[in-house]
């Protein structure tokens, strides 16, 4: 479990609504995170978790509602400005920059904070080592296994020196050894002070990492609280009935 945090609220969404044509993906949802927390968002497929994520990261614009990151109103901000403010995210389906090497991928992240390529290379090297990809640094991104691609994606996000990190279904497709490694990495990052929000299907990971879990279903929050409380909630169990998420 991550260290208890009594920090300030650094990410706050109020009354979020997102409509795609006739479909309401997120419906009047509030969401907030304090500095240093590690929280999770779970829910059956189509619950609106990824949409919530994309809204927080600035990839989508909310139909209604407000979002603030580190005290700044980011409701109308584009994803790149949100990133510069200090919120980094990974993608559900990894998005490596295919024609670059691993190191270069991470350098792109590092370049948010510096104009010097030399400086960026140094910082990126350090991050690459940190996540355990040191030996792959000069290989083309396309040569990596899925687990390592996910690591690279985390490294890239870390290189942007975020205060908040959003991890979008990072654990999918990993075998149990890779999963343990990943969980350990994420735990360490949080212990060092990084605020982390995880969207996940792999319940085991969320339970072992998060101090608080938010459950979404059909675009709305149906439960929120410590893991054992949330997972025992009959509404949550009902939402998952028929879903094989707890096989993960």
């Amino acid at each position: 479990m991550s260290a208890a945090s009594s920090g300030q609220v650094i990410l706050e969404a109020k009354g979020l609504v997102k409509r795609f044509g006739g479909l309401v993906a997120v419906n009047q949802t509030d969401f907030s995170v304090r500095e240093g927390q590690m929280v999770g968002v779970i829910g059956p497929n189509g619950a609106g978790k990824s949409t919530l994520f994309n809204l927080l990261a600035g990839a989508f614009r909310p139909t209604q509602g407000t979002i603030s990151v580190l005290g700044h109103d980011t409701t109308r901000m584009s994803a790149d400005r949100v990133c510069k403010l200090g919120l980094a995210r990974t993608f559900q389906i990894v998005r490596p920059l295919r024609r670059l090497t691993v190191l270069e991928n991470v350098m792109v992240g590092a370049l948010v904070r510096t104009n010097s390529v030399h400086e960026a290379r140094k910082r990126a090297s350090a991050v690459v080592e940190r996540v355990g990809l040191g030996q792959y640094a000069d290989m083309p991104a396309t040569a990596l296994s899925l687990a390592n691609l996910k690591r690279m994606e985390v490294a890239r996000a870390l290189a942007t020196r975020p205060r908040i990190l959003l991890l979008d279904e990072m654990m999918a497709g990993l075998n149990s050894a890779e999963l343990d490694n990943f969980i350990a990495l994420v735990r360490t990052l949080n212990q060092e002070g990084l605020t982390i929000v995880i969207v996940e299907h792999v319940i085991e990971a969320v339970v072992s990492l998060c101090e608080r879990i938010t459950v979404m279903s059909y675009g709305q929050k149906i439960a929120e609280g410590p893991p054992d409380q949330v997972l025992a909630d009959p509404q949550v169990i009902a939402a998952y009935l028929g879903d094989s998420a707890d096989d993960a």
Binding site: L97, R99, V112
Partner: protein, 340 residues
Amino acid sequence: MLTRISAPWWATVALTVLLVLASLFGGTFWAHIAILAFMWAAAASAWNIVGGFAGQTSLGHAAFFGVGAYTSTLLYVHFGISPWLGMLAGMVLGALLATLVGLPTLRLRGTYFSLGTFALGTTMMLVAIQWRDLTKGGEGLSVPFNEGLLNFSFLSKTPYVLIALLFMAISAGVAELIARSKLGYQLAAIRDDQEAARALGIDVTRAKLIAAAISGGLTAMCGTFYAQYIYYINPASVFGSNTSFQPLLLTIIGGIGTVYGPLLGALTIVPLTQLILGSLGGEAAGLHTLVFGVALVVIVLFAPAGLGQAAANVRSLLASRLMGRGQVKPAQPAEQKGVK
């Protein structure tokens, strides 16, 4: 140490040297070939900044080429301003046009962007034909010849060879600087995955616009050179679609997205087509472009990473055969950032 220079660069440097020597000892025929090759290499390198680095396939770069050619020529004809200054003015205008046009078009998806730029080039040509008061329309403009460095006019071809070579170096040099800089990395990210680039804090529109402005300015520079070498410009020759396609096609043949690619493509194809044109004369009408078209089709089908990568593959294949190594490891795709 020499083995660190990659095969494509070896080829590029070798061709450059050969062309310079040929122009010095081979008479005006070869000088002309060298001049055109270097000029198109410069134009292709400029195009590659937007088309290759940023991955935005522009089909309308003739718009900037023509702006350069007409700006310097008109300033010279009407106000007696030195074509060198006119060139600088043209470059500024080219960069401005690229930014103005880029603002709306760079937001469009690939196909629409390409079609939009294609329309731009054609529109500029039609405007040039229509605006007879300014451009004398389809008749074109003759560029006055007054020999002298300040007038960018020379009797001998040798100064042109050197200037064209200089422009090629400038264009390639700028490309290399960009490739190594923060902008270069940003463009590479944009080219590979725009959304990922945004999530990594890159202001995509701004980066593309900067690339477009630089590309437009450098292309305009080549337009002025053309005017001062050929001494006659008209809408079809400087704004026409051939002028838009040439840098693009040469870059693809050489290796898109690399710094050497546009150079290699121009230095191989331009002399080849000029030789055909020159040796067969009138009978060759169409043959030289046929060779160009066939080369393009062959490259796209069989060596899409360009001649440079093909050369690198051949070299590593030979190297491993000669060394007797058991395993043949193909060379890394040269499109990667950082690999020259």
